[in-house]
């Protein structure tokens, strides 16, 4: 195995696009574990962390751009980010242990392609946009457009996400993320939900995004669940309707982490609880 530190994103793209079996590494909290478990090393490991700007969090057009190698801990220490997108930050901060937080990156979490990735529902709800450096130059794609299936994304050979933009949050809006795990930490979501709500001046939901994780081959946006909340102050009926819409959108697997029945029920519970948190963060009164 060769280990190469990419000097810039063009280098990285060239290396990743060149031979078979090249693998990018940022924090390495997935890559190294996979190498150890499989006993197979990639031919080339391309370290992205020295690419200029890739570890920066910068303001951009009122939104916030997060470099691909920014760690969860760094996101958690950034007040501007936490204030604008508390749901995204809390999702990323749930990944792994304190030690893992020092290395794990949000973009790595996205690229790993897990249906249970904590950051992804929050990114969907926030309508985040990934910046991709590819063989043919740079392009911007909504995170939603990258999801494909368990362990897979729509990134092509040599494509590299260099950053993710969280757009400027609307006035009176907030997001929230919740997941269900059988323990209190150090675990993988059995069902999860990211919710982003915008309220009008009267404190009524004017716009909503509801995303679920771990209940389908990829994280999913549930439009009916969002629609159930719009025009309400999250009264009982709206919450119930939202939960039912979530349950309908679920297409989970039965496995050692949870049954289909359980995941479906709990996805709705997570979504409605996250909605209530987002609502209150946005200034709404329950």
């Amino acid at each position: 195995m060769r280990y190469i530190v990419a000097k810039n994103s063009r280098d990285a793209v060239a290396l990743l696009g060149a031979g078979d079996g090249a693998q990018p590494i940022a924090g390495g909290t997935d890559v190294l574990v996979q190498m150890k478990l499989s006993g197979v090393a990639p031919s080339v490991l391309v370290d992205l962390k020295k690419i200029p700007g890739i570890r920066d969090i910068v303001l951009e057009d009122g939104g916030i751009r997060i470099g691909a190698c920014v760690s969860g801990a760094e996101m958690g220490e950034n007040d501007a980010l936490k204030n604008m997108w508390p749901g995204v930050v809390e999702a990323v901060e749930l990944i792994g242990s304190t030690q893992v937080q020092g290395r794990a990156t949000m973009v790595g979490n996205l690229c790993n392609g897990s249906p249970a990735a904590d950051s992804v529902p929050a990114l969907l709800a926030a309508e985040a946009i990934a910046r991709i450096e590819g063989q043919d130059g740079q392009r911007d794609i909504p995170v939603f457009g990258l999801l494909e299936g368990p362990g897979r994304t729509k990134l092509g050979k040599g494509d590299l996400i260099t950053s993710v933009l969280l757009p400027k949050a609307a006035k009176n809006s907030a997001d929230a993320y919740l997941r269900f795990i059988p323990r209190t930490e150090m675990d993988i979501a059995v069902a999860s939900a990211g919710v982003n709500l915008q309220l009008d001046e009267a404190g009524v939901v004017a716009a909503a995004k509801v995303a679920l994780g771990a209940v389908a081959p990829t994280a999913v946006l549930v439009e009916d669940a969002a629609a159930a909340l719009i025009g309400t102050r999250l009264d009982e009926a709206a919450v119930k309707q939202c939960a039912e819409a979530c349950e309908k959108a679920c297409n989970p697997i039965d496995d050692k982490r949870g049954t289909i029945e359980f995941r479906t029920k709990v996805a709705g519970v997570m979504a409605t609880r996250a909605a209530k948190i987002a609502f209150q963060r946005a200034g709404g009164l329950l």
Binding site: R183, E185, V269
Partner: protein
């Protein structure tokens, strides 16, 4: 036995192994390396049950850097049937009996070459039908793991996998149930759990062509390792020196061998030292978890809470080889109660799973769980207070136990009364919260032990014991030595000797070490004291019998009293070279009368009605320990037992697929509790001295894992208003029960 006054016992000195452990200096199993050593890797069966048709190791042997490859063919058949099973568990012979069963091993100059060599070994398997569930394995017609080992006197109603049958009890069940106002009969299941020690099995083996061997390993009993390995490798015990490393947890799981004979065989074949370290995946698939169970419990109770009759049928699943463990469950099941009519029966059953090994009070937690769950349901149904009801039926001194012996002084009533009086029991309960109570019991063992004590010329003391320190025994033994000798604790250093430096000692298990090694230590100290008194008598030119030992010094007694100033241990030691040479004491023995131990646990659990998530909100554990030598260690034992029991109750389980493969061989999906899952476990030490020990000590390491299963289950059942009958109570199961 009245309570004694002690100077050192009952204090909380800093632990002797603390500095080394927090600085990383302590040497654990995988920490030892020597020049020129090889690395071992073991090839394991991916099948639950398969005939091994052939193994071709030629390609692996040809790989540069590979120095030895072994298979079952390298291991001889053994005369001793039990060691034979152990050997076959370390390396399969003609059949792979479970997913993870070792079928070949490689030693190479690097870990990566060893790993690459494993991939070059070609094994041809012929798949056989498998069974992993205890009830299925007992059915006539089930695939039988070993022929000819069925328990004597069992009929055709059970399969040949049923390797043990036991029954205990007295009285007449029919009479007892007829006296009951309420009879409840329930069936329970518990999953297999793993001890969850953080340190994987690891060893460094060096076996020369001259037949001399050195083995460094993480174990609870290095004499036992020597015994088994010497037999498997056909070498003399004296020629194999085994040294126990510091140990990162064992809980019963390190009372046998898994990789040691393999590493020794690879070393013999390669002529080089060989290091073997299990991965976590291997620990789960191929070490020894505890039994899973299927149980039927029937208990009758009068309206006022008197148990009139009690019956238990326990079926334990213990993996791929014959074993004996359900007996301990059948004996423990009703130990807490004074019953006129009681019967418990148990069946040990083999399946295509890794062979079980001890896990903290082996066999007891599941049996007591099922019994205590039915007792709690009866209390609910008859609207009785759970602690009052247990007090009404509690075993006490003079009770004829359900397993035979009549109890001496025991502390169950004291523990129940302490629980009842504790503020926890009367604290108000929040919404969706339930309070669970359970009793627990463990026998505690004595057994063989050797201690050697040297009095140094500077007045200090070295003590060598033969039991690995897994729960603070170096501290407690030093304290007991200091108490017996009457000198300050800091004058004593206790070490765990290797198999060549002190006599045989049984495995560190059965909560026996503080009790048994303690007795040997006191006797060794008394031997040294006798010699010191003799030296003082010689110096004073008086009769040896006219000298007594008081507060760490010899002093004249009788008509010589006051004639000479006392001579301290240091003063006698300083001139020992001139009064007859070094002074030492030693003791070898096999103390019995270990003194059983009871505990009572109280827990408040909150269940999220929408997700089935259980949060442990408050936990108080009461336990009779006889005498707490070092209370902080005792509290640690109680807390640790409670936590392991909480994990067993809520989330821990071996999950097998239809294909008979283990689906969760790692700490991600085998969920032991993490720190944030738990409240502070509040331990309450009860001291009812054990008449069988000079200082009143009872074992304290195991009892604490027995009550939590039922305590948590009873708490959850009360919180959700539905009885739970299966462990673990993972959220999907609870949510389903809530409906």
């Amino acid at each position: 036995m009245s309570k004694q006054d002690f100077k050192i016992l009952g204090t909380r000195p800093i632990r002797p192994d603390g500095l080394d452990k927090v600085t990383g200096k302590a040497m654990f199993g995988a920490d030892k390396s020597v020049t020129g050593m090889l690395h071992a890797r073991i090839l394991r069966s991916p099948h639950a049950h398969a005939e091994i048709v052939s193994i071709d190791t030629s390609k692996a042997k040809a790989l540069p850097g590979v120095k030895a490859v072994i298979t079952g063919a390298d291991f001889d058949e053994l005369k001793n049937r039990w060691t034979g099973y152990t050997s076959q568990n370390c390396m399969a012979q003609d059949r792979a009996l479970y997913d993870g069963h070792a079928v070949a091993a490689v030693a190479a100059i690097s870990k990566s070459i060893a790993a690459a060599a494993l991939k070059l070994i070609e094994v041809e398997y012929n798949l056989l039908p498998h069974v992993t569930d205890v009830d299925e394995a007992m059915k006539p017609g089930a695939p039988v793991l070993h022929v000819g080992v069925k328990a004597r006197k069992l009929g055709d109603e059970v399969s040949g996998n049923t390797v043990g049958y036991y029954s205990f009890g007295h009285g007449d069940l029919e009479t007892g149930f007829a006296e009951a106002d309420e009879v409840i009969e329930r069936s329970f299941k518990t999953a297999a759990t793993h001890q969850g020690y953080i340190e994987p099995h690891a060893c460094l083996a060096d076996l020369g062509s001259d037949g001399r061997g050195e083995l460094w390993c993480s174990t609870q009993g290095h004499y036992n390792v020597r015994l088994i390995c010497a037999e498997i490798l056909d070498i003399e015990e004296s020629q194999l020196r085994v040294t126990a490393s510091e140990i990162g947890g064992g809980f019963g799981g390190k009372t046998t061998v898994f990789i040691e004979p393999v590493a020794l065989m690879l070393s013999r074949k390669s002529g080089k030292p060989v290091k073997a370290v299990m991965t976590r995946d291997e620990v789960f698939r191929a070490s020894g978890p505890t039994m899973s169970s299927s149980m039927d419990i029937k208990i009758g109770m009068s309206k006022d809470g008197r148990i009139t009759a009690a019956q238990a049928k326990l079926r334990y699943q213990g993996g791929a080889f014959p074993y004996q463990m359900v007996m301990m469950g059948a004996m423990s099941a009703f130990a807490a109660y004074d019953l006129d009519h009681v019967q418990s029966e148990g069946w040990d059953v083999m399946t295509n799973r890794p062979k079980m090994i001890s896990y903290r009070a082996p066999g007891a937690p599941m049996a007591v769980y099922a019994v205590e769950a039915v007792v709690d349901e009866l209390c609910q149904k008859l609207e009785l207070d759970p602690i009052d009801t247990r007090l009404k039926n509690a075993a006490r001194e003079g009770t004829k136990s359900s397993y035979g012996p009549t109890f001496k002084a025991i502390g169950l009533v004291e523990a129940l009364e302490a629980a009842k009086a504790h503020p926890h029991y009367s604290a108000p309960l929040a919404e969706n919260t339930g309070r669970g109570v359970s009793c627990g019991f463990w026998f505690n063992f004595g057994g063989q032990v050797s201690v050697s004590m040297a009095i140094n010329a500077d007045g200090t003391v070295n003590l060598i014991e033969g039991n690995p320190d897994i729960g603070g025994s170096r501290a407690s033994i030093s304290m007991m030595a200091a108490e017996a000798l009457g000198i300050p604790l800091d004058r004593i250093r206790t070490i765990v000797g290797d198999t060549a430096s002190v006599g045989f000692s049984d495995v560190t298990d059965g909560s026996r070490v503080t009790f048994a090694v303690g007795i040997a230590t006191i006797n060794a100290a008394n031997a040294a004291i006798k010699e010191m008194c003799k030296r003082a008598a010689m110096i004073w030119e008086i009769d040896e019998d006219a000298v007594e030992w008081v507060d760490g010094a010899a002093q004249p007694t009788g008509h010589n009293a006051g004639e000479f100033p006392p001579m301290s241990l240091a003063e006698i030691a300083a001139v020992s070279g001139k009064t007859g040479g070094p002074i030492a004491g030693h003791h070898e023995g096999a103390p019995d009368k270990a003194g059983v131990s009871f505990g009572v646990h109280l827990v408040d659990v909150e269940v999220d009605p929408e997700t089935g998530f259980t949060a442990v909100k408050r936990y108080t554990a009461f336990q009779d320990v006889g005498k707490a030598i070092h209370p902080a260690y005792v509290e640690g034992q109680i807390q640790g037992g409670a936590v392991q029991g909480i994990g067993w109750a809520l989330n821990e389980e071996y999950i097998y697929g239809e294909d008979g493969r283990l689906q969760n061989p790692g700490f991600l999906d085998y969920r032991i509790p993490v720190a944030s899952d738990l409240p502070m476990i509040d331990p309450v030490i009860i001291e009812v001295p054990n008449p069988g020990h000079p200082f009143g000590v009872r074992g304290c390491g195991e009892t604490a894992i027995v009550p939590p299963l039922a305590a948590v289950s009873n708490g959850v059942s009360r919180a959700i208003g539905k009885r739970m009958f299966e462990l673990p109570m993972s959220p999907p199961k609870i949510l389903k029960a809530i409906g």
